[in-house]
């Protein structure tokens, strides 16, 4: 029997038994619907929740700790230095590995006035990160290629200062160009690192004239020396200098401060573009011209702000991370809301500028270039605090190699960080729950298959005479079996498609309900479902499989009917 004629006969048979066919289809629709729904949910939870909080192909490991009275202690271990990071980088499956150093000094920060009308104050925690570790991600978040393409299409414009250029552009090499925040996350940013002795300077720098100066093979760096400046005198007592520093861009005070000539390198001029006057310590108006600290935040912070904080702080939600680039906030290093950790003359009040977003940045903290955090650790906690890393961030070739990488790292004396352990646990929970739910869908499908079997057994019984007639006019046993299985296949295909559509509709409904009910809950994604391209195909394939499996017995019985007997009985 050719396919076209088979389809024609199947269609007519199903039309004749449409009520039974529809009833038999219900189970298949529900089963495949549940299957697709749970696949979409599992994939959605992984991609939109898990991978957002814990990026894919990324692990954080730290030296193995022992539990001492319920706390993790790193006892008697060799320092986590560059050679150990290099060991990790050589593990099979590892594409890149970077050391990461956390701040061990007290700090606090405040800012946000531009966003919500007043400043927020908090303790500050920093992660020092190698530039190479986050540069690619910074460029992706900033959508740098598109930005540069747009800038390239603009008419070339000469300039002397930023003000000569259009908003969003900067003056560089006497020509206006796009502001590229990602490139500001750089170890060599013009930041003055005050010091009292060489031990406070890290790397190849030495303490010279009160600040760390890089040492080159030919001697001290020939780079331009930092420029001295003066802050405006405070209106009130000395403590108000903290607020004076907020307007530190008014570094022209350097020029106007009579009696302290010589501190300004070029009298009559302010600090260079994109720099401000940072006081040596909170109780002085004497400072250095320097760039703000390049800060990188985790984009989850924006989600937390939008979902909860914006509402409770009286601010407005921020549409995207793009609105936050260039925002400045203030940092007090060596100072804390909990204790006066460092003498005031050792404290530094600095500005920081938001130059990008990275999922590698701490969720409740700020990422700075590694060299800066090392310097501050050395300055406030001594040189030992700057020598070793706290953790190693690993990028793996793919998710499949992660167990192998973990095993390798463990053999080197590492363990997963708390964050990565949580990621693995969450991932396992999502996987197990997804599998359990898919199993449930499988049970529903199995029940549906028995329903299909019963329906077809009944249909075959009702159509015994019809089958006998077909056999009499030339249908072989196989033709009869194919006819019955064809009907089951059509029920399966249609049921599978309807099930997939039902799953999509249910997903939309769940997302809409979640959107309405969970709008103030942080980290709730736009949608909980991601349907892989193959989910509909799988639904149809599974429905076909279960339907034909269910109809297999009845089709065999139909094909074995003895036409002579049936026709004699009828």
């Amino acid at each position: 029997m050719n396919v076209r004629r088979l389809i024609g006969l199947v269609a007519r048979n199903l039309r004749q038994s449409r009520v039974r066919a529809l009833l038999a289809m219900i189970g298949i629709v529900v089963g495949t619907g549940l299957l697709v729904f749970f696949i979409g949910l599992g994939q959605g939870l992984r991609e939109r929740v898990l991978n957002r909080i814990f990026p894919v192909n990324q692990l954080e490991i730290e030296p193995r700790a022992v539990q001492v009275f319920g706390t993790e202690q790193h006892v008697g271990q060799e320092p986590l230095d560059d050679s150990r990071v290099a060991q990790v980088a050589r593990l099979p499956g590892v594409t890149r590995a970077f050391g990461k150093q956390k701040s061990s000094f007290p700090a606090r920060l405040w800012g946000g006035k531009e966003l919500i009308g007043y400043n927020l104050f908090t303790e500050a925690f920093f992660d020092g990160m190698p530039v190479a570790m986050v540069r690619r991600e910074l460029e992706e978040f900033e959508d740098l290629p598109a930005k540069l393409r747009t800038a390239a299409r603009r008419k070339p414009q000469r300039c002397d200062v930023d003000l000569d250029c259009a908003p969003g552009s900067t003056c560089r090499d006497a020509a206006c160009g796009a502001v590229v925040y990602a490139e500001r996350f750089d170890e060599s940013t013009a930041i003055v690192l005050p010091c009292a002795s060489d031990v406070e300077c890290v790397g190849n720098a030495t303490c010279l004239a009160g600040h760390c100066t890089p040492r080159t093979t030919a001697g001290l760096s020939t780079a331009e020396s930092p420029q001295r400046c003066l802050l405006p005198l405070p209106a009130g007592n000395g403590r108000d200098l903290e607020f004076a520093n907020e307007v530190g861009v008014l570094a022209h005070a350097c020029v106007e401060a009579a009696g302290i000539d010589g501190w300004c390198k070029t009298p009559g001029k302010t600090c260079p573009p994109q720099q401000y006057c940072a006081a040596d310590h909170p109780d002085t108006v004497l400072g250095w011209c320097e760039a703000p600290l390049p800060a990188v935040l985790n984009p989850l912070l924006l989600e937390v702000y939008n979902s909860d904080m914006a509402h409770s702080l009286g601010g407005v939600p921020i549409a995207s991370v793009a609105a936050l680039y260039g925002i400045r906030f203030h940092v007090a290093l060596g100072d804390s809301y909990f204790s006066q950790d460092a003498a005031r003359v050792r404290q530094q009040f600095k500005q920081a500028i938001l130059v990008g977003f990275s999922r590698k940045a701490p969720e409740l903290g700020v990422a700075l270039p590694l060299g800066l955090v090392r310097h501050f650790n050395a300055r406030y906690r001594g040189p030992d605090a700057a020598r070793s890393y706290d953790a190693v961030l690993i990028e793996t070739r793919d998710n499949e190699t992660i167990p192998q990488v973990v095993a390798g790292a463990e053999s080197l004396g590492f363990q997963l960080s708390r964050k990565s352990r949580a990621a693995r646990t969450f991932g396992t929970v999502v996987l197990v729950v997804s599998l359990a739910l898919i199993l449930l869908a499988g049970v529903v499908l199995a029940v549906a298959a028995t329903q299909i079997a019963q329906t077809f057994a009944m249909l075959v019984h009702e159509r015994r005479r019809e089958i006998a007639i077909l056999r009499a006019i030339g249908a072989a046993q196989r033709d009869v079996a194919v006819l019955v299985l064809g009907e089951a296949a059509v029920i399966g295909a249609v049921g599978g498609l309807l099930g997939a559509l039902l799953a999509r509709a249910a997903a939309l409904a769940v997302d809409a309900a979640a959107h309405a009910l969970l709008q103030h809950v942080p980290l709730v994604p736009e949608g909980f479902f991601v349907f892989p391209w193959w989910s509909e195909l799988l639904a149809v394939a599974v429905a076909l499989l279960f339907c034909t499996a269910g109809a297999l017995g009845p089709s065999r019985r139909a094909s074995r009917l003895d036409p002579a007997t049936v026709l004699a009985q009828s």
Binding site: R4, L470, G474, Q477
Partner: protein, 229 residues
């Protein structure tokens, strides 16, 4: 060309029923030539339908020898047997046996769906021609249940003839029809036999139907009753 359509020698068929073996045919010898019309008559339970099912290749659980167009039927596999039925034999049943969910045209074309080499166009052309010969072409797209008994039986005949089989097997073809319609159907069948030389085997209780056949074979308790000299 071989003119023998059917040869049966010592043909026996028995069935197990309620723990007993019932012998429906007890050694039938029969020979039918090409173009013959043979009526098989006998009382109920004489084995007429059993013999017809064997001749029509619907049943191959027999003993003895049964060759139709030179082919020993019990030696054929299911597919071969199905193809044999499809190409060599046309069936006309007492109760028409049309499929109610197919149209008149589709019922007529049904034999071409299985193992036939006819393409869709040729199948349709033949169906229209046959139905036109039967005066039913305008009913091509109608459901058969809207038609009278006589019309339905004519459709059944058209279906049986679609693939131009050399052997037509009819089981009480007029049993469900009134006398006038039965006469029409008989004329149709005998006309076929005369025009195309189709061999016809008819099982009937009706003496008038039997009288139209060229030869009458009487069965009694599974055996052929010898013809009177």
């Amino acid at each position: 060309m071989n003119d023998v359509v059917l040869v049966a020698r010592d043909l026996r068929r028995s069935f197990a029923a309620e723990g007993e073996v019932v012998c429906a045919l007890r050694g039938v010898d029969l020979r039918i030539e090409r173009g013959e019309s043979v009526a098989i008559v006998g009382r109920s339970g004489a084995g007429k339908s059993t013999l017809l099912n064997l001749i029509g290749a619907l049943d191959r659980g027999y003993e003895g020898e049964l060759r139709v167009f030179g082919q020993e039927l019990k030696s054929l596999q299911d597919r071969e047997l199905a193809r044999f039925r499809n190409r060599q034999i046309g069936f006309v049943f007492q109760s028409f046996n049309l499929l109610p969910h197919l149209s008149v045209g589709e019922n007529t074309m049904l034999p071409a769906y299985f193992g036939s080499r006819l393409d869709e166009g040729e199948t349709r052309r033949r169906a229209h021609q046959l139905l036109a010969d039967m005066g039913l072409d305008e009913r091509f797209d109608h459901p058969p249940m809207q038609l009278s008994g006589g019309e339905r039986q004519r459709i059944a005949v058209a279906r049986a003839l679609l693939l131009e089989p050399p052997l037509l097997v009819c089981d009480e073809p007029t049993g469900s029809l009134d006398a006038k319609t039965a006469e029409e159907i008989l004329l149709l069948i005998t006309g076929l036999q005369q025009r195309h030389g189709t061999t016809i085997v008819v099982v009937t209780h009706d003496p008038q139907v039997a009288a139209r056949a060229g030869r009458i074979v009487t069965l009694d308790r599974g055996r052929i009753v010898p013809e009177a000299a």
